[in-house]
């Protein structure tokens, strides 16, 4: 590895940094003013690449390419304004979790819309007219277009910086970032301000995506990869700081470029392929920054972003009627194998539902009573599933041992990630957990030699007698009941009270001697461990596990289950998981565009039933809160 090769990679890194910057800065601006984390920002970036591709190939030439890039930014800008006006404007007063879910629903809808419009093939655009050549730098050929990208990032940074510092719009953005209500009370129409900031952020994302058209193919996987990277950049750079966003984009891109430049290194006792460690390196940078500066490099401490929704009622032990109902349902479930003689599929569905119940109740444990909105619960599902499957594959352990190991491995992962996560709150925590989940997913995906890469681990079948669906179903049922009762026990123990106290008022809880971070950390770990059981059961139920099954989509499924059921009660996640898993196994299998369908269901849920199914039922039966 020569110095010149090193510097060359550094230039490459700078070119990538511009793309990262464009998406992160819009995300950061939008959050600052509207307090909405726009998860669909990566989708707008992806759309940018696709739209620019169409301009460049349909119209062609300099006009199609360069004019297309400008037109793309404008189109995405208008789309952003429409999203803000038609959707977000209705939910600014909703709990922040609903806002996050709504923007995630957009991710699903936009992804399927893109699939429908452009197809599933990766599309590589033409090279940039006028910049097709290359310049010789450090004895290597650097594409002129990369040089252009290196310059345009800082150029846009300068323009934005000037606009924020010197224009009235910029002053309003900065003022609203601090106190939007006061800005309104001074006569500023927030609706217009919000729409224009959202449109600006969307335009930047669209521009960033469009500029990639000559460098990387347009692919459907871009949306989540881009948003994951952007989250890391924003967390590292500091929320609301545009200079921080550029700085962080450069750091992250350089670290990645460096890993690729180092390549395979033989340390004598072990050979490490650094180019496969890009995501791990990104994580290490973020972890380091968060430990040293919890609000990012150039961010400043902000008051925790508390939702404007009303405080929740305390959870209560189930009424006798509900307990009786639970026993009846349990009896029915135990009898299910008898019914399954007629329809064997019923057992498969039953297993899926029970695994979903464990998954959702463990997520609800930290989300509801803990107030920690994890957007990366799939990580612990994945650690459990892969933990069990890999032990079977490499150590040939029996299923029992695998099922014991699953929660332990997930617990260890949750202890590690949770230590960082509980230091943050609200949307910061949500972003961080999502980033962790992306890392687990990437590790399973990239570490081919150990995890089987994209093929995953196969042949993880349970031994007799569990190879019979009925027996495995009963095993799952037993474990699910134990898991749910265990979580319930935690909640009504002093530990659970401490956890809720820490959620409702961290200051007061600490003043009476509760170590809030520690309690929440342990809660996070417990939830992760229980979730790992679900993962282990899943691996043996399906006989295989692949990266796709632990992708961010599963985290979001969990959120939908919890919100569908209602977050205020313990019954909520159980009902939500059952309804959702059943829907998923039946309705959504019928269409290729199940993502869009799921997205629309989420949007409907968010707009129409903010209290979830159980909340709505409780209201009908008159358990209304005072007006």
């Amino acid at each position: 590895m020569t110095l010149s090769a090193f510097l060359f990679q550094a230039l490459n890194g700078l070119a990538s940094a511009s793309g990262l910057f464009f998406i992160a800065v819009g995300l950061s601006l939008i959050f600052g003013v509207t307090r909405i984390i726009n998860i669909a920002h990566g989708s707008l970036y992806m759309l940018g690449t696709y739209i620019a591709y169409s301009f460049a190939t349909r119209i062609g030439g300099g006009l199609g390419f360069w004019g297309g890039i400008v037109a793309t930014a404008l189109i995405v800008c208008v789309l952003g304004a429409l999203i803000e006006i038609l959707l977000l404007r209705r939910i600014y007063r909703a709990p922040e979790l609903f806002q996050l879910l709504a923007t995630f629903a957009l991710v699903l809808v936009i992804n399927d819309a893109t699939l429908w419009l452009w197809g599933s093939e990766d599309l590589l655009g033409p090279r940039a007219p006028g910049l097709r050549g290359a310049v010789e730098i450090f004895g290597r050929q650097l594409p002129s277009y990369d040089l252009f990208l290196i310059v345009i990032g800082p150029a846009v940074l300068l323009v934005l910086h000037f606009a924020l510092a010197k224009t009235r719009f910029g002053r309003l953005v900065r003022a609203a970032t601090q106190d939007r209500e006061m800005v309104g009370a001074l006569g500023v129409n927030q609706a217009i301000l919000f729409t224009s900031v959202f449109a600006l952020g969307a335009a930047l994302a669209g521009l960033g995506g469009a500029l990639q058209v000559a460098r990387e193919p347009a692919t459907l996987a871009t949306d989540l990869i881009a948003i994951g990277d952007a989250f890391v950049v924003v967390v590292v750079g500091g929320m609301g700081s545009i200079t921080g966003a550029y700085l962080a984009a450069v750091i992250i891109a350089e670290v990645k470029a460096l890993c690729i430049a180092i390549g395979v290194v033989d340390f004598g006792f072990i050979t490490v392929n650094f180019s496969k460690l890009t995501l791990v390196a990104e994580f290490l940078v973020m972890a380091g920054v968060l430990i040293a500066r919890p609000y990012g490099l150039l961010g400043r401490p902000q008051g925790a972003v508390r939702s404007v929704a009303e405080a929740e009622d305390p959870i209560r032990p189930a009424a006798p009627g509900l307990k009786a109902l639970a026993v009846a349902v349990l009896a029915l479930l135990m009898g299910l194998p008898l019914l399954a003689q007629a329809s064997p599929y019923l057992l498969v569905l039953g297993i899926d539902v029970l695994i979903a119940v464990i998954f959702a109740t463990s997520l609800h444990f930290i989300m509801g009573p803990g107030g920690m909105h994890s957007f990366g619960h799939a990580a612990y599902f994945g650690l459990g599933a892969y933990g069990a499957a890999l032990m079977v594959k490499w150590l040939a352990v029996p299923m029992g041992l695998g099922l014991v190991a699953a929660p332990l491995i997930a617990l260890a992962g949750a202890l590690l990630f949770g230590w960082f996560a509980v230091r943050l709150s609200g949307v910061y925590l949500a972003m961080l957990t999502l980033a962790f989940a992306q890392i687990v997913w990437a590790a399973m995906f990239q570490w081919e030699g150990f995890t089987g890469g994209s093929n995953g681990v196969i042949g993880v079948w349970p031994p007799p007698p569990f190879n019979s669906a009925a027996v495995y179903y009963l095993l799952t049922l037993a474990i699910a009941v134990i898991a749910v009762l265990l979580l319930r026990r935690f909640l009504f123990a002093p530990f659970g009270y401490a956890m809720r106290a820490g959620r409702d008022s961290p200051l007061r809880a600490e003043a009476i001697g509760i170590d809030v971070k520690r309690v929440h950390w342990l809660a996070f770990a417990i939830a992760g461990g229980i979730c790992g059981i679900a993962g282990g059961l899943f691996a043996f139920a399906k006989g295989s596990i692949s990266p796709e099954t632990i992708h961010v989509g599963r985290s979001i499924d969990g959120l939908v289950m919890v919100l569908l059921g209602g977050i205020q009660t313990l019954t909520g996640p159980i009902v939500g998981a059952s309804v959702f898993a059943t829907l998923q196994d039946t309705v959504m299998r019928q269409t290729e565009y199940w993502r869009a369908l799921l997205g629309l269901i989420i949007l409907l849920l968010v707009l129409a039933f903010p209290q979830g199914i159980v909340g709505a039922v409780a209201q009908i039966f008159g358990r209304r809160r005072s007006p």
């Binding site: 309003l172 601090q178 500023v188």
Partner: protein, 243 residues
């Protein structure tokens, strides 16, 4: 006193969650009048001002400003009709300079219903009213003392050229010298023709500036009259105002 009051509040009630804070308040402010809402901590003074400004989601009753019902309007719409609001916790934009803070409050000039021009403000004119601010046009809001912030928050509201200002606890938490300056400012604004509704705990301050007083306790108006009447009424003072 003109026939139609500048601000007329009728059976105003407000809630925070399930807790009722205000109970059917009725009061008015005439044009050019300085009216004080007085009462102890937690009596509901700030909530009243916020409710008038549309900053409390759960409220009932009507608020007529300048002859128009504004009780269904959004805060920015209310502000644009010439109702200025200075919150008790000042809410200066700490990352913005003095000049930038003033710019956020800027609105077009206004006229009273009878066609007379309302006082119109520029940073220069405000700097003569608040000489301290003139010395620090480029200072960040976060680097100012409490008293300077208090002046800035009033100046920022005046940049909107309001017809009436809701002034929440202008004397709270600032040095005695600033309190005196603030009282002079209010008298000055009254001379310019502005109406002012202020919330106040300190009778010594209220005495310097107010024409009339409404006394609040537990979200209800228990007494109202002129400042002179309150001054001689020891019973009301003892029951609702002394600590």
């Amino acid at each position: 006193m003109s026939l139609k009051p500048m601000l007329a509040v009728e059976s105003l009630s407000a809630w925070y969650g399930a807790a009722r804070i205000l109970y059917d308040l009725n009061f008015h402010v005439a044009r050019g009048e300085v009216v004080a809402l007085m009462g102890r901590n937690g009596a509901g003074k700030s909530t009243t001002l916020k409710a008038i400004m549309g900053l409390i989601a759960q409220r009932q009753g009507s608020v007529h400003f300048n002859g128009e019902d504004v009780s269904r309007l959004k805060p920015f719409e209310i502000a644009r009709r010439g109702l200025g609001f200075t919150p008790e916790d000042r809410r200066i934009f700490v990352d913005l300079t003095v000049m930038e803070n003033l710019d956020i409050g800027r609105q077009p000039p206004r006229t009273f219903p009878d066609g007379a021009a309302a006082p119109s403000w520029t940073p220069e004119k405000l700097f003569t009213l608040f000489p301290n601010l003139a010395e620090m046009p480029n200072r960040l809001g976060g680097r100012m003392s409490g008293g300077e912030q208090q002046m800035l928050t009033v100046a920022r509201t005046l940049m909107g050229n309001p017809l009436l200002v809701l002034l929440d606890e202008p004397s709270e938490g600032v040095a005695p010298l600033i309190v005196e300056q603030m009282a002079n400012t209010i008298v000055e604004l009254k001379k310019e023709g502005l109406s002012i509704l202020l919330s106040e705990q300190n009778i010594h301050f209220a005495r310097l500036v107010s024409d009339r007083v409404y006394v609040l306790e537990k979200g209800q108006i228990h007494w109202h009259g002129t400042m002179a009447q309150l001054d001689t009424n020891q019973d009301v003072q003892r029951a609702y105002l002394t600590v």
